[in-house]
């Protein structure tokens, strides 16, 4: 489990992280979202032992990450600007990575040649951005990490390769229990893969929940009444409502079964629960709390 508590980091007086706290359960795929400058990359660099925090703690399975190779060799990361030696080929980098990850799986490296159609003898600098991203995934997956930390991981990948990469990651999660922490500023991208989500803004984590928790607690109902709209039961907590013609779309906080039962008492002509997108959940969950979530997501 990854635990970050009250993390603070300032750069020349600017607080990039102002008490961020994150908990990533074992085996989870945790999506960290937020606008540009929210502190996502800074947080991930602390998790990979690149930066040292001003205060707060970062532990993986209870052990500090900073200057702790025993922990770091269980973590593979793919930053948004993955580094390789200027003259190096993928094979050269593979040899380099093997020197740091004793569990590096050379057999898997050979097997993945079929997935990533790259020449491992070609200098990496001659590859396109998407190909370099593939190379990074290739090596990271061969490190057989317990923790995979990804910063904007699929930027530059074509849709097919995106799917392929996520498929490999999900396979590792299901087979090896790999814990994945992925940062993105795009909620839609994470919606399909994440089971936990945290949202960051201005150096703090505003909210973190499991996806099921969020979905169980927020309900979107499309409803049509005959004639004038009756007063809704006071027990229902409306987060948002809009109307197109006679069709009203209302977002409620609460359990779907309880909400539907309460609404049924109002005798609607038509009532249907519609799936909420992750984006909508965050907008309506936090909109009422005066957070600038709309600005974050839109």
């Amino acid at each position: 489990m990854i635990e970050v508590k009250e993390l603070v980091k300032t750069f020349d007086g600017f607080a990039a992280l102002a008490g961020a706290s994150v908990t990533v359960p074992q085996g989870a795929i945790y999506g960290l979202v937020g606008p540009n400058g929210a502190g996502k990359t800074t947080l991930l660099r602390h998790l990979t032992g690149v930066y040292r925090q001003d205060s707060g703690s970062i532990t993986v399975d209870g052990q500090s990450v900073w200057e702790n190779p025993a922990v770091k060799m269980r973590i593979a990361s793919i930053p948004d600007d993955w580094y390789y030696f200027m003259q190096a080929s993928l094979r050269d980098m593979m040899h380099y990575y093997r020197g740091f990850y004793p569990q590096f799986d050379a057999t898997r490296y050979e097997r993945l040649k079929a997935v990533f159609s790259l020449s491992d003898t070609q200098p990496i600098r001659r590859m396109s951005k998407g190909m370099q991203k593939q190379a990074a995934f290739w090596l990271a997956l061969c490190c057989m990490p317990d923790y995979l930390i990804l910063d904007e991981p699929v930027d530059g990948l074509d849709p097919v390769m995106r799917r392929q990469v996520w498929s490999l990651i999900l396979q590792d999660v299901s087979e090896r229990g790999t814990t994945v922490l992925v940062s993105s500023h795009n909620l839609r991208e994470l919606e399909d893969v994440c089971d936990h989500v945290g949202i960051m803004n201005k150096g703090t984590v505003l909210l973190e929940r499991s996806l099921s928790e969020l979905q169980d607690n927020t309900v979107k109902i499309q409803i049509v009444f005959d004639g004038a709209e009756p007063a809704l039961p006071e027990s229902l907590r409306v987060l948002h409502r809009s109307a197109v013609g006679r069709v009203q779309t209302i977002i409620f906080r609460g359990k779907q079964s309880e909400i539907e039962a309460a609404l049924a008492a109002c005798r609607p002509l038509f009532m249907e629960a519609v799936p909420l997108t992750l984006e909508e959940i965050f907008i309506y969950e936090l909109g009422g709390a005066d957070y600038a979530v709309k600005d974050i997501i839109l």
Binding site: F11, R45, T48, G49, V50, Y51, R52, Q63, S64, E67, N68, P69, A70, K72, M73, I75, S77, P79, D81, W82, Y83, Y84, F85, Q87, H95, Y96, Y97, R98, G99, F100, Y101
Partner: protein
């Protein structure tokens, strides 16, 4: 719990060696050309094969001189290569995310860079050994010294380069820091001395900077690391048995710098542990070093640029004593501010630094002004300080009167002479206001008229506590009508000029002083001959030269007669005399050189080797006994010219 610290990662080490092989290859080629290939070419085609001594001495010369220079150049190159990742945020983040401690990465990179230099050196020395062996000049001791001459400066300069790399986050800033820091101590010392010299009356400085050891490349070049034979490194042996006496001059300094290199390596490791990764790409990567950089640049700019600007704009109007305090301070303050803001711009990577930097710039200006005022008002008491005679071990004096025939140069431990020197010193220090006023005139002084003469007076006291006090007064004006006033510079300087020790030195000791031969080292003096030469004149008509060699006995008689003339006071002179008639003859002698191996407080001497010395005897018309001795040899000194 953190894992156990490992200081070496094989992957990092070999990766560095592989990636920077072109640099290593170029370095190897350089030393191959300089050492074994050059030896093969030179010794393989010469008609007469040089002696083993000559071949080995050449090898020590090449490695001694070339080792320091090449280590200075390549040390920073290899440091930049293996630690370049620290200056690239992407690379630093990428490598520090891997499962290795900073200590492991540092030591592996450091050792890789060092190995890339030491291995080629070892290979080249071994190949040289093969070449020398083929010519019968194989000597493992000398080869070991040659390798040390290469390896020790490499250890220092490379470690220092690494140290510079860790302090900066900009790749191109590293060689600038490295170059500047290699000479900055000598440069700053020189500039500070120039700065102080502008304000302090009587300011004197040593001939070589006292802190030269802190500017390693300057020190090594000054030391001259090379192969020498014998205690003084001066004699040239004639056969191979002298190889045993061959040694590497300056080896002690190489060891000192190598030890300093190890210290720098450890310091670099400590810096590496605390170096924030996010500072990659910044000019100064360590937080506490930023103010040092900012104020260091400001003060160096003030000292160098400020004084340069002052001399460019005001220098042509300046005469001795007319130094403009406001002008000088204005130039230095302006240059200091420019330096401060330039440093701030480099640190902040922005031209908009006024708001953040004005306080610091003001502090720099204030400090410079305060420093100038403190010096110009002599709040330190420098100008008036004359050491008490009982604290002085010895004194060296250079008193030259511009209109007179000879100057007074001597080093003496005689209490009477020391007292006379301190009295002369006090007199000229007391006369500061008038001397500066006289010096401030825009027109040249009319020395020689109205009973005045000009002179300069340089004095160095060696104190009993081992310290030195130096003062130098140039263009001092003396007034003949003040000779009756015992406290006047004229009276004090005249008394000093006619001190028995001084008279002896100005009659016989010029060459001793100029060749820095301590008269205390002259023992068992035996004359080997002499030479007399004078121009003959009839009024203004030149008649020709009269020259004559002297036998050892004649030289001895002349020397003894000259000493008696001095002891009888026949070379006493007034500083204001216009009689500049003199004839100089040379006497040659051998002596046992008593090398001083003791300290100043309790000197002890040991006989080292026999050396030769030359006396210039300055004959003046009053030296009756000497002239009489010459006459007995058939030589008539002519003072008509």
């Amino acid at each position: 719990m953190p894992s156990r610290t490992s200081f070496f990662n094989r992957t990092v080490f070999w990766s560095d060696c592989r990636r920077y092989w072109p640099l290593t290859a170029a370095y190897t080629l350089l030393w191959l050309l300089v050492l074994p290939l050059e030896q093969l070419t030179e010794y393989g085609h010469s008609f007469t094969e040089p002696s083993a001594w000559a071949m080995l001495e050449t090898m020590l010369d090449v490695t001694g001189i070339g080792g320091g220079i090449s280590a200075f150049c390549t040390g920073i190159l290899f440091a930049m290569a293996v630690f370049s990742y620290l200056t690239n945020p992407r690379a630093a983040n990428g490598l520090h995310a891997l499962s290795a401690r900073r200590e492991t990465l540092f030591c592996s990179h450091y050792l890789a860079g060092l190995a890339c230099q030491l291995v080629p050196q070892l290979v080249c020395v071994l190949l040289s050994a093969a070449v020398l062996g083929a010519h019968g000049a194989l000597d493992l001791r000398i080869l070991g010294l040659a390798f040390l001459a290469l390896a020790l400066p490499t250890l220092f300069f490379y470690s220092f380069g690494v140290f510079c790399m860790l302090f900066t986050g900009q790749l191109l800033a590293a060689p600038v820091f490295y170059g500047v820091l290699n000479v900055i101590v000598v440069a700053v010392e020189t500039m500070v001395r120039a700065f102080a010299g502008n304000y302090l009356y009587g300011w004197a400085e040593p001939e070589t900077p006292t802190l030269i050891a802190f500017s390693p490349i300057v020190k090594l070049l000054e030391t001259g690391v090379r192969g020498v034979t014998g205690a003084y490194g001066s004699s040239v042996p004639s056969d191979a048995q002298d190889v045993a006496a061959l040694r590497l001059q300056g080896l002690g300094w190489l060891w000192v710098y190598a030890a300093a290199g190890l210290v720098f390596a450890v310091l670099s490791l400590l810096v590496c542990r605390v170096r924030p990764n996010e500072n990659s790409g910044t000019t100064v990567a360590i937080g506490w070093a930023r103010p040092v950089f900012r104020y260091g640049v400001a003060f160096c700019a003030a000292l160098a640029l400020g004084q340069l600007v002052y001399y460019l704009f005001f220098g042509q109007f300046r005469t001795y004593g007319s130094y403009s305090l406001p002008g000088s301070l204005a130039c230095m303050a302006a240059a200091g501010m420019i330096g401060y803001f330039a440093a701030e711009m480099l640190l902040r990577k922005s031209l908009r630094v006024w708001r953040t930097g004005w306080r610091g710039a003001l502090a720099v200006t204030g400090t410079l002004v305060a420093l100038g005022v403190v010096l110009s008002l002599d709040l330190t008491g420098y100008e008036g300080y004359v050491p008490d005679t009982d604290r002085v071990e010895s004194v060296s004096v250079d008193l030259s009167v511009y209109s007179n025939r000879s100057s007074c140069l001597l080093t003496s431990e005689d209490p009477d002479t020391i007292r006379l020197v301190t009295e002369a010193h006090r007199a000229v220090a007391r006369d500061k206001a008038r001397q500066l006023r006289l010096g401030a005139g825009d027109t040249p002084r009319d020395w020689g008229e109205n009973g005045t003469v000009g002179c300069y007076f340089r004095v160095t006291y060696q104190l009993k506590n081992g310290g030195f006090v130096r003062r130098w007064y140039s263009d001092v004006t003396l007034f003949e009508n003040e000779l009756g006033d015992g406290d006047s510079p004229a009276a004090a300087f005249t008394a000093l000029y006619n001190d028995p020790d001084v008279m002896l030195m100005r009659t016989l000791g010029h060459r001793l002083y100029s060749e820095e031969i301590d008269p205390r080292r002259l023992a068992d003096l035996s004359f080997t001959g002499g030479y007399f030469n004078q121009s003959l004149w009839d009024g203004d008509t030149y008649l020709g030269e009269e020259s004559r060699g002297l036998t050892p006995e004649q030289a001895q008689r002349i020397y003894d007669a000259a000493v008696r003339d001095v002891e009888a006071g026949r070379v006493r002179e007034s500083l204001f005399t216009q009689d500049s008639r003199s004839v100089t003859l040379q006497l040659y002698a051998n002596y046992l050189d008593l090398q001083d191996y003791g300290n100043a407080a309790a000197p002890s001497y040991d006989v080292d080797e026999r050396a030769s010395v030359e006396f210039d005897v300055v004959l003046t018309p009053n030296m009756r006994e000497t002239l009489s001795a010459l006459r007995a040899m058939g030589i008539e000194a002519s003072f008509s010219g």
